[in-house]
């Protein structure tokens, strides 16, 4: 039955079938979907202005029915801030990875497709970026261009460029020698047509899988920068920043740091699970 099933369906349908059989994929989709929904609906459910949020009389309250995650040192409701933090973290994750994919893919395409000196130069550049442990590189970049959420986003994105450059380069090199590409070139297709119609689509699956897993890393790295005071700045409700502010009070009020950390963990877990599930679906050979 399995063979006839596979025979009858398009590759997309087969992938979808495999994805639905992957329990980590489903769990990941559920978690990621939840956070996306939360981020989209937050402004309607809990309208929030971080600059005006101060209720000093209610500071450092433990979790109660009224404030289910308690309040922080300025009397701000942690639950509302955690909810709004999802908007920041998801945006950072998606934009940073988007930047890395665009720049990395272009570099990898150029290196793999043209080879020779172009390849040498780009590979040299990538090796240099890879000489730094990722968090250090991100910290160094932010130290140079200045702290802030947008700069943290750029830094986290730059750190991930080598992953995509290498991935795309290897895909391009393995595909460009194949007959259908030679045929396209023989028929007079332009470079850009060959690249975008024939080469790139074949690299799409690993890019999607890696992209999902990268969002998880990007969220973690950006939170780390926020924690070190190099990312989002007060009073933004960024999760890493909230944990670092709570650090000062955490013997008296551990909930300030606790809940943003749970949020980071669950969100990152969601993207990791989704990435694993997508790998099962799109890249059945490499999955376990």
């Amino acid at each position: 039955m399995a063979t006839s099933e596979a025979y009858m369906r398009t590759p997309t349908q087969q992938a979808w079938l495999r994805f639905r059989r992957s329990s980590s994929g489903k769990a990941g989709m559920l978690i990621v979907g939840f956070f996306v929904l939360l981020a989209l609906l937050a402004p309607f459910l809990y309208p929030y202005d971080a600059t005006k949020d101060r209720h000093l009389r209610e500071r450092l309250r433990p979790p109660t029915a009224e404030h289910i995650m308690g309040t922080d040192e300025l009397g701000r409701d942690i639950f509302v801030r955690v909810v709004h933090g999802s908007r920041i973290s998801l945006r950072v994750g998606v934009f940073a990875v988007g930047l890395a994919i665009v720049v990395g893919t272009v570099l990898g395409l150029l290196a793999g497709y043209f080879g020779g000196t172009t390849d040498m130069l780009i590979s040299w550049l990538i090796d240099i970026l890879l000489s730094f442990p990722s968090i250090l590189l991100a910290i160094a970049i932010v130290a140079v261009i200045g702290p802030g959420i947008s700069n943290a986003m750029i830094a986290v994105g730059i750190v991930q460029i080598p992953i995509y450059a290498r991935l795309t380069r290897s895909v391009v090199i393995s595909i460009k020698e194949q007959d259908f590409v030679s045929a396209a070139v023989g028929l007079g297709a332009t470079h850009s047509r060959v690249i975008f119609r024939h080469v790139l689509p074949n690299g799409l699956s690993p890019l999607i899988v890696q992209g999902t897993l990268s969002i998880a890393t990007a969220i973690l790295d950006a939170a780390g920068l926020g924690f070190l005071g190099l990312g989002a700045q007060p009073p933004q409700p960024e999760w890493g920043l909230m944990i670092s502010k709570g650090f000062l009070y955490f013997t008296r009020a551990p909930w300030i740091s606790l809940f943003p950390g749970v949020a980071i963990m669950v969100a990152v877990l969601g993207f990791n699970l989704l990435g694993d599930g997508l790998r099962d679906a799109l890249d059945p050979r490499t999955s376990r």
Binding site: W124, A143, V144, I243, G261, I264
Partner: protein
């Protein structure tokens, strides 16, 4: 093998050259006058001038064409910021801190043992937990053991380590008072440094109190720093083990009547260890150089915390020297890991 090793290390030269270029450019990418940024708006013109001289900011960036033409001396072409910087670092001189005036290279040497001790502690912990866990998960695939190990590993990868560190401090130091929350030794205890790693120094100097106390301080940061390698190694171990267990020679070993224990320990494990050893090597490089968050939380006086403080103070010689040092250590470790393939697996041929 030797030829490959030589080529691998020669290949590091262009990379390290690029790294030095990048680190050098850092200081010039800062918006505004670097001297003003470092000393602040209220610095006196004399102080600014002195710093500019000290950092060679009065010279051109790469090639001093003007001096070369005026003095009719091609060598003067290299009287530039980059070449004096490169000349300095090749002589092991990483400059001195702007604020504390300490020599960056000396400070790195003094602090590196602390980072090394923490990395070794974290890695030992990770290996001791992850390898048995990974093997058990593979041997009993799809059992509750497997599920627990794999879920644990996934959670470990997904947890921010600075948050895990805080939880550990809150639980074991603040509430239970079992372990100290920060630092490397209790106040009052000290040991004359030999290796700079206190656990070892205590043993070597016959001062057991120091060793025990240093170990106590080491536990919490090692758990925090070791969580990610632990998760990665466990996943890798399981994957490699499953891969090996599905091969023909394992079936042969089983069919000739060997006990399952023999099959796993003698036949499967040895071959499954190769990718695991690789990942351990690579992760060790990351630990050694990426302990910034952990060291900051636990107030651990290693290079990570020092670098972080240097960034906060805009002490650019520290940032430059520290980054350069870390990148160099990192690429060398990665090259050594590459070379170790041949040592652990004779089938590997180098080209």
């Amino acid at each position: 093998m030797t030829a490959y090793a030589i080529r691998r290390f020669l290949g590091l030269i262009p990379v390290l050259f690029g790294v030095s270029l990048l680190v050098f450019t850092f200081i010039h990418l800062i918006p505004g006058d670097p001297a003003v940024v470092m000393l602040g708006q209220r610095a006196t013109p004399q102080a600014l001038e002195k710093l500019r001289k000290q950092l060679n900011l009065d010279k051109p960036l790469f090639f001093n064409v003007k001096a070369a033409v005026e003095e009719k001396n091609p060598a003067a072409l290299f009287e530039s910021q980059y070449f004096s910087f490169a000349n300095r670092i090749l002589h092991g001189d990483l400059g001195e801190s702007i604020f504390t005036k300490v020599d960056v290279a000396t400070e790195l040497r003094a602090r590196f043992p602390a980072t090394l001790e923490l990395s070794i502690g974290a890695m030992l912990l990770a290996i001791l937990v992850a390898i048995p866990a990974g093997i058990m998960a593979a041997v009993r695939k799809n059992s509750w053991v497997d599920l627990t190990v794999m879920t644990g590993a996934l959670v470990g990868i997904s947890m921010p380590i600075f948050w895990l560190g805080l939880l550990l401090i809150y639980l074991f130091a603040v509430n239970l008072h079992w372990l100290p929350p920060s630092g490397r030794l209790d106040v009052g205890l000290q040991v004359k440094p030999l290796t700079g790693m206190y656990v070892l120094d205590g043993l070597l100097r016959g001062n057991l109190a120091v060793t025990l106390n240093a170990l106590k301080h080491l536990i919490l940061p090692s758990i925090a720093l070791g969580s990610i390698p632990m998760a990665v190694i466990a996943r890798m171990m399981r994957g490699a083990m499953l891969e090996v267990m599905s091969q023909d020679y394992i079936r042969t070993a089983r069919s000739k009547g060997l006990s399952e224990r023999m099959v796993i320990w003698k036949h499967a494990l040895r071959n499954a260890m190769l990718p695991v050893i690789t990942i351990i090597g690579l992760m060790f490089g990351t630990l050694l150089t990426g302990a910034i968050l952990t060291e900051t939380i636990f107030n651990w006086p290693g290079i990570g915390k020092w670098l972080y403080d240097g960034i906060g103070a805009r002490d650019y010689p520290i940032v430059q020297g520290g980054t350069l040092f870390i990148a160099t250590v990192y690429v060398i470790i990665n090259a050594l890991v590459d070379l170790s393939y041949g040592f652990f697996d004779p089938r590997v041929q180098y080209h």
